[in-house]
Structure formats: structure tokens, C-alpha cells
């Protein structure tokens, strides 16, 4: 089997296992290329349907094109769209762009904390009303017991250690030294109350695999990934104060694949434009132990 096909089949299998075994499931959609490819895989797995809500953790510092693109696709594909946010930190201006905290503390508040509260149902959950096109508070407060996320093992060290089904404790913490065994297509699908599981269907994909797949499947992706004429594009998307574009003239997924295979990014790590990864060795590991994606 061709390797993109075998990656695709495995991801679909994992998505279906999650759907059948985990009662209150949701999928994180960061609007980036990986989770958008994952959304496409979900529609394949469920024959055109997306049978769980999509959750976007909005830091309010996302690049504006991202939100517009999110809402366009959500309406077009009739998605159950939930947005979570740490309103308290934003109101008190406890952010890096406000100069109050460093990058890592900012990630912790606007992403990790917002994610934790959205999952548990204690924080803000805004739901897209397809009739009005507006986001309204979601009356549903049930904690999500399973969260599908589009992380990949090749992104950074701690992600290379992940499981397909990766448990988190009551505080969302990840116990890296004591991960469950996972073999013969059997995953950890039983949980103590209050805990949840992260499901990682893209673990075996590399960056270039994702782009080849986007190209092959004609998956619509946000325009920020492509050079619009200024000789710059984003390789990895995050918050604008901490994510820098790279110099590149690639205008299509095909051109990005070429750039990764043989061109200027052949041997350059993907997250080199992400400032929070550079601050200290092991920082992302710390963030992830604490519940970050």
C-alpha cells in the first residue's frame, strides 16, 4: 500500500475507534494544516459526517484570516463549532502582548488553561448558531472525556513519545514516565471519572506527508500558508505575536511539498518560526506535561 494510503487508513481506524469507545468526544481544530487534514480524514471516516463537536481555543491573538476561514468552513460543512477562551486572563490583560507575562506564561493562560476549562465545561463555551452565523454561549457543560488532536511525532521531542490514545489525569496532566502499553491495535479506552484521553490519529505523519495529502485530496487550507506575492508565508500557524512567517515563494501545496523534499526547507525543523519553543530546552515538554497540545 502506498504510504499516504496506509497513513490515511490508520488515521481513519483511530478516529473510528475513538468515536465508538469514548462517550463524550470532541476534536481540537486549531485551523492549522494538520488539524484541517484531520477534519478531512474525519469526514472520510464517517462518510461525509463529522459526528462530534470541533473545539477551537481562541487566544484572541490568532491571525484574523484564521477565524474568517474557520467560520466559512464551519458553515459550509455544517460543523458543530465550539470556541473556548480564557476571558479572565484577557480581561485582566495577563498576556505576553500586554507585557504582563512572558511567552510561556501566556501560552499557559490563553491555551493550556483555556483548553482545560473548555474541556471540563467550567470555562466559556461558545457555539456557532448556524441560523444566525453568530456564536452564542453553549448550554452544554458536560466535560469532554475524549479530545482528538492533530499532533505529530516529528514536531518535537515530547510528541515523539506520545501514544495514539494518551490519558490525562483530573488536572489534565500527562504522566510521561508511566504511559499505558499500546499494541495490536488495542488502546486505552477505559478511564477513571474526571480523567480524559487525548487521541492522536496523525502521530505517524510527517510535515511533508500532511502537505502531500492536502495536495492529493485538494483540502482547503487557510491562505496564510501561501506566498501572496510578498515572498513570505507561514510554515506553522499560531498567535501573531509569537509566530513569524518564513521567506518563501511557495504558492500551492505542491510547491510546499517540493520545498520540503528538495528545496530550502529540506532539513529545517518546522517549528523554527515558533518563538515559545526557543526560550529554553524542554519548555514545550513542560507545557505539554501540564496539558498543552
Amino acid at each position: 500500500m502506498e504510504h499516504l494510503d496506509s497513513l490515511e487508513n490508520r488515521s481513519i481506524h483511530l478516529l473510528r475507534e475513538a468515536y465508538s469507545c469514548i462517550p463524550n468526544l470532541a476534536m481540537l481544530w486549531s485551523i492549522g494544516k494538520d488539524s484541517t487534514a484531520l477534519l478531512h480524514l474525519t469526514r472520510k471516516a464517517f462518510l461525509g459526517h463529522v459526528p462530534f463537536p470541533l473545539v477551537h481555543i481562541d487566544t484572541n491573538y490568532k491571525i484574523p484570516e484564521m477565524t474568517a476561514y474557520r467560520d466559512r468552513l464551519a458553515r459550509q460543512w455544517k460543523l458543530t463549532m465550539i470556541v473556548g477562551r480564557n476571558d479572565a486572563a484577557l480581561a485582566q490583560k495577563q498576556t505576553f502582548p500586554d507585557g504582563a507575562v512572558d511567552r510561556i506564561a501566556c501560552c499557559r493562560l490563553l491555551k493550556t488553561q483555556a483548553l482545560r476549562d473548555t474541556l471540563s465545561g467550567q470555562g466559556v463555551r461558545l457555539k456557532l448558531d448556524h441560523a444566525t452565523g453568530k456564536y452564542e454561549p453553549d448550554p452544554g457543560r458536560e466535560p469532554y472525556t475524549g479530545i482528538i488532536a492533530g499532533i505529530r511525532a516529528d514536531e518535537e521531542g515530547s510528541r515523539s513519545k506520545e501514544r495514539y490514545f494518551s490519558p490525562r489525569d483530573q488536572q489534565n496532566r500527562w504522566d510521561l514516565g508511566d504511559q499505558p502499553p499500546e499494541f495490536w491495535d488495542q488502546y486505552k479506552t477505559d478511564f477513571a471519572p474526571g480523567t480524559h484521553v487525548r487521541i492522536h490519529p496523525l502521530l505517524d505523519w510527517r510535515e511533508v506527508d500532511v502537505w502531500e495529502y492536502i495536495d492529493r485530496e485538494r483540502i482547503p487550507t487557510v491562505s496564510l500558508y501561501y506566498d501572496q506575492g510578498a515572498g513570505k508565508r507561514y510554515r506553522s500557524l499560531g498567535c501573531y505575536p509569537c509566530t513569524l512567517p518564513v521567506e518563501s515563494m511557495a504558492r500551492t501545496p505542491g510547491e510546499i511539498v517540493a520545498e520540503l523534499r528538495t528545496g530550502k526547507f529540506k532539513d529545517i525543523a518546522e517549528r523554527s518560526g515558533r518563538a515559545q519553543d526557543q526560550e529554553d530546552r524542554g519548555t514545550l515538554e513542560e507545557l505539554r506535561r501540564d496539558g498543552y497540545m
Partner: protein, 600 residues
């Protein structure tokens, strides 16, 4: 399009004792094949300098803080790497015995292995344990890497001695290494290029050996095995399809194929293969995650195994003899209840017997003591709460292996050696044949149920007191009828003089009486009815037999009797202790509602 598109990707695990240099070997492989991102090597060297530590290739791979500070691999990592010939996904497994469950997880994803042995230390406890694990996991393509040859002065004599020792114990495990390679990972000898320091060695380098491992063998040639993951009916956007979903473990699936679902024996034909955005064509093969619709609607659910009627059938049994390994801190014991997961099936299981136990660090037999300790291997028999479909591992490993869950965690795994007879085997064989031969009408049970606004179900009322039992059953029938349900009361006595006339009255025929009761119940359920049946003092074996004949999730057992105890070994869904008939009726209706048989 890039030049590497469509290249196969081989999955390889690194195994061996702690500190024998698995991770250093991986680091060196990455560095010497140009698989590292730009600046990574320099970054790690600078980090080591700043922290006054000698540089180690292992730091390129051990990403966790604890791993770097302790110089030990804690959990397996997925590492992507490429040679001129193909792409690889390496699983660098930890060699410390504490992390055996992590090693198993890494190794189980691989189709080939490098077993790393320290030239100085030789074969150690986890060399043997990992070797044994590779053999049990079915990994046939193995090469041995004798590392740290610098420590033994690159001496050929030591290499030959070790090479013989490793090959010997692998042979005991039924494994023949594709090669034994003397290397020094730190210096790069015989990793990607041949070493000048060991002129006596003219075999392949590590990279050459990897490139010669054959690709993963296709399983298309085996009979179709498709564990049902789920049955989808997404009506949200006006979609009327009912789609059976699953990943083909082996064989091929084609439109028009006659399919039998095991262990129920239900049959139908593949009407369409479904796909998104477009249907995938008329056939699918092993490894594909598929969705298909059936020509005649039958009730199937997650856990059943779809096979072709024209191919060899799988086993269906509630007793398995298996070869198991145990990873839990607490031993695998006969007193506890576990969950066994095989394919998509999931069933409560008990350890019935332990036949023999092996110490995986010495590969020597241990005294069998009725339980299996941590990191031990054993041959055991499991008794399952309900039958599952499987194959013997030697016939089809993909449907012949399972895991054992204790509480909420996977604690062990096993290979099916044999599906044994269980008390319901005879009955099950009859039921499977009956289902395969069943004459279907044009109106399905589902259509009837939809018209009747109920689900067909069997309420089996048992107890010691004849009058209590029957009055409860009749009251239940009346109440359900009053509520507009299609319901029917049937005492086992109604069968004894008619259906059972030929076998009436002898104790040996009790089993046949029960079987016939169950078959009559099956017919009535197929017609969409709710059947309230009574029989005195049912045993659990009787009830298992009945649940073999009807769909178990549509059958509830109720014990009615004074005193609040069950006089037999039956484990009823409901025990009505202080029977006014009204109390029994209310509680049974609540039970049926909780099982979604009746609407709330």
C-alpha cells in the same frame, strides 16, 4: 512532486538490554544518513558543552529532561529516518525492565528489529527478555548489532564468541538473525560505512542490513477478516444509509460477497462499498478502513467479525487456551475478573487455569502456581462471559491476539493457541448454522419494530415459587399490553406437551427443553414481539444457552422470590425480593427502559 513520494516506510524497533547503546545507535544512524534537521547536531553539542557533559549521540533522540539527566530512555520514541533506498520509522525502545510495557508498545508497531548487545557485557537479562518478546510479537526479521566493539579492542574472537551465544538463544526462540554486525556506534564503525578498524568483518553495515529487510508481507491472501468497528446511521443531513464500518485485517471484500458475521452467524450480502467524497470502487483489501452497506438488513454490532461465507470460518468460543505475557504489578489471578479485547470484541474474562509459566529473563520454566507474575509468560486457559470470534494465532495472527485489561488499564497480551469447547459450544454451532440457513422474508424485524414502536425483547422470569413467578409474568404482560405494546406470555409448560412432546419428562432432556424454549423465543423476537417467558429455577448455564440463541442485549433475566436470594447460580439482571406483582412490573419496565428496549 518530490522524488520520495510513494516510497514504502519500514517500521523497525531497537531492542536490547539497558545501556547497551540502542539510543546511541539511533542517534548515529540519524547523523550518518543525513536525517537530522540542520543545526541539530551543533545545538546538542553546544548544550553538552554549556552543561559540562560529554556529547552523546543518544542526546539527539532522548528528548525528555529526565532521559537526558539520567542518561536512560524512559519511553519509546518514534523516529523518522531515511536511507537512499527507503524511509523508516524507528521505535527506540527502553532497555530497562521497568519499561517493558513501553518496549512492547514500540516493538508491536514494528515489522523488523535490531537487537543490540554490548560487546563487553554480552547477553543479559533484557537481551533474552526482548528477544523472547520479539518472537512472541511475531517479528521474524531480526539482525543482531554487537555494539561497543572499541571496549574489546575490536577483537574478532570476542565477536565470534558473542555472535554464537546470541544466535543460540535466538534459535531457541525460533528466530534466525539476518546478520550479526560488529559496530561501535559512538565512532560510527559499520553503521553507514564500513570500518577500517575491523578488517576481518566483510558483512553488511547496519544501514545495508536495514535496507535488505523485506517489506511487510501482504495479508490479502488470507481469508477475509473484518472486525466490525461500528454500524453508522447518521440521519442528520438526511442520510438514510446504514453503514458497517471497520478495517480489513486480512483478505479482500467485494460488492456482492456473501458475508457471515461471527459469533452470531448472521448473514447478508455486500450491497455497496461507501466512501467520501466518492465511493472507492467495487473491492477493498487488507489494511483498508472501509464502510459498506448490506443487501438484507441484519442486526450486527461492534465486536462481530465479518467473514466470507465461501472461505474458512473463524472460531467462535467462550474458552480460549492462550500464550500470554503479563505486565501488571499485581499478578494475573484466578480470583479476579478481567476484560479481554480481541479485534473490536470486548468481553469479561476469568483466568480458568495456568498450565505452565516461563521466566522471560532466563527463558527457564517456573513452577506453575495458578497465577502469572509481572514480566512472566505463561500458557493459560481463559473463560469468557460470552463467546467471541477469533482465529488461532498460527492461522491468522491478526485475529488471533488479544489484550487483557484489569480495571482501566491494559496489563497483558496473548496469542490464541486454541478455541476450546465451552458449555454452550453445541448450542452455538446450531445457532450459527440456523442463522446461516435462516429464511428471510421481505419485511425486516427492524421495520416491524419501527411500526410497533418497541424493540423485540425477551424477559425471562425465573424463581422457585411457581405462583409468584407466573403472576409476576402475567401482570407484566397485562401492563405492557395496556400500554400498547405487542407482548406475549409464554410459560415453559406451554412447550412441554407440544414442542417438547417427543422428549418429555426426563432429566437428561432438560438441556433440550431449554434449547427449544430459546429457539421459540428467537422466532417470536424475530417477529418483533416482547416475550415474557417463565421457567423455574434457571441456572446460569441455562441462561447462557438462551442468550446464545437470542441476541444477548435483548434478553433480561429476572428472579422473583421471597427472601431476596437466588436459589441457583443464575446472575439475574434484576432480583425482585418482596413480590407484590406490581412492584415486579414497575421494576422490570424501568429495566427495559434503561436498556432502551422500551421508550421512557
Amino acid at each position: 512532486m518530490g522524488t520520495n513520494t510513494g516510497r514504502e516506510r519500514l517500521r523497525v524497533v531497537l531492542a536490547g538490554h539497558v545501556d547497551h547503546g540502542k539510543t546511541s545507535l539511533v542517534g548515529r544512524l540519524l547523523a550518518d544518513t543525513g536525517s537530522l534537521p540542520q543545526g541539530k547536531l551543533e545545538q546538542v553539542r553546544a548544550f553538552c558543552e554549556r552543561n559540562a557533559r560529554p556529547f552523546e549521540y543518544a542526546f539527539l533522540v532522548d528528548a525528555l529532561r529526565d532521559e537526558q539527566s539520567q542518561g536512560i530512555t524512559i519511553d519509546f520514541a518514534r523516529i523518522f529516518f531515511k536511507t537512499a533506498a527507503r524511509d523508516y520509522l524507528l521505535f527506540d525502545a527502553p532497555g530497562h525492565v521497568e519499561f517493558l510495557k513501553s518496549m512492547v508498545s514500540g516493538a508491536a508497531h514494528a515489522s523488523a528489529a535490531l537487537l543490540v548487545v554490548d560487546a563487553e557485557e554480552g547477553v543479559r537479562e533484557n537481551t533474552r527478555r526482548h528477544g523472547w518478546m520479539l518472537s512472541l510479537l511475531g517479528i521474524r526479521h531480526i539482525a543482531v548489532v554487537i555494539n561497543k566493539m572499541d571496549r574489546v579492542g575490536y577483537a574478532e574472537g570476542r565477536f565470534l564468541e558473542l555472535s554464537a551465544a546470541v544466535s543460540d538463544f535466538l534459535k531457541e526462540l525460533g528466530l534466525a538473525p539476518a546478520g550479526v554486525i560488529p559496530v561501535c556506534a559512538r565512532e560510527g564503525d559499520n553503521i553507514a560505512s564500513r570500518s577500517g578498524r575491523m578488517p576481518w568483518y566483510d558483512g553488511a553495515t547496519v544501514v545495508e542490513t536495514l535496507d535488505h529487510f523485506p517489506a511487510e508481507p501482504p495479508t490479502e491472501a488470507l481469508p477475509l477478516r473484518l472486525p466490525v468497528q461500528d454500524v453508522y446511521r447518521f440521519t442528520g443531513l438526511g442520510d438514510q444509509r446504514r453503514i458497517v464500518a471497520g478495517t480489513i485485517a486480512s483478505g479482500t471484500l467485494r460488492v456482492g460477497d456473501e458475508i457471515v458475521f461471527y459469533p452470531s452467524g448472521k448473514t447478508s450480502r455486500v450491497a455497496t462499498l461507501e466512501g467520501f467524497p466518492a465511493p472507492p470502487g467495487d473491492a477493498a483489501t487488507a489494511g483498508q478502513a472501509v464502510g459498506f452497506t448490506l443487501a438484507e438488513q441484519v442486526y450486527v454490532r461492534r465486536g462481530e467479525l465479518a467473514v466470507k461465507r465461501s472461505e474458512p470460518p473463524p472460531k467462535a468460543s467462550a474458552r480460549l487456551r492462550a500464550s500470554v505475557f503479563w505486565l501488571g504489578h499485581a499478578p494475573l489471578e484466578q480470583e479476579k475478573e478481567y476484560i479481554l479485547k480481541l479485534g473490536t470484541a470486548r468481553v469479561a474474562a476469568r483466568l480458568e487455569a495456568v498450565h505452565r509459566v516461563i521466566d522471560t529473563s532466563t527463558l527457564q520454566p517456573l513452577e506453575a502456581k495458578g497465577r502469572v507474575g509481572r514480566h512472566e509468560a505463561a500458557e493459560c486457559t481463559f473463560a469468557l462471559r460470552a463467546a467471541i470470534a477469533c482465529d488461532r494465532a498460527e492461522d491468522n495472527v491478526l485475529t488471533g491476539r488479544f489484550v487483557i485489561v484489569e480495571g482501566t488499564d491494559i496489563r497483558g497480551g496473548g496469542l490464541v493457541l486454541e478455541a476450546l469447547e465451552d458449555p454452550s459450544s453445541g448450542q452455538r454451532a446450531k445457532v450459527i448454522l440456523r442463522n446461516i440457513k435462516w429464511q428471510k422474508g421481505l419485511v425486516s424485524r427492524e421495520q416491524r419494530e419501527s411500526r410497533f414502536n418497541q424493540k423485540a425483547a425477551l424477559v425471562m422470569i425465573s424463581g422457585s415459587d411457581d405462583a409468584l413467578r407466573k403472576s409476576a409474568a402475567r401482570a407484566l404482560e397485562s401492563e405492557l399490553y395496556r400500554q400498547g405494546r405487542l407482548v406475549y406470555f409464554m410459560g415453559i409448560g406451554s412447550l412441554l406437551y407440544g414442542v417438547d412432546a417427543d422428549i418429555r419428562g426426563t432429566a437428561e432432556n432438560h438441556e433440550e427443553d431449554i434449547r427449544r424454549l430459546a429457539e421459540v423465543a428467537h422466532i417470536l423476537l424475530d417477529s418483533g414481539l416482547i416475550l415474557v417467558a417463565t421457567a423455574s429455577e434457571l441456572s446460569q448455564a441455562d441462561w447462557d444457552m438462551i442468550r446464545t440463541a437470542v441476541e444477548p442485549e435483548r434478553a433480561v433475566a429476572v428472579w422473583v422470590g421471597r427472601g431476596g436470594t437466588v436459589a441457583t447460580d443464575l446472575q439475574p439482571d434484576l432480583l425482585v425480593a418482596a413480590p407484590g406483582a406490581g412492584d415486579a412490573v414497575t421494576r422490570v419496565i424501568a429495566l427495559l427502559q434503561s436498556k432502551a428496549i422500551l421508550p421512557r
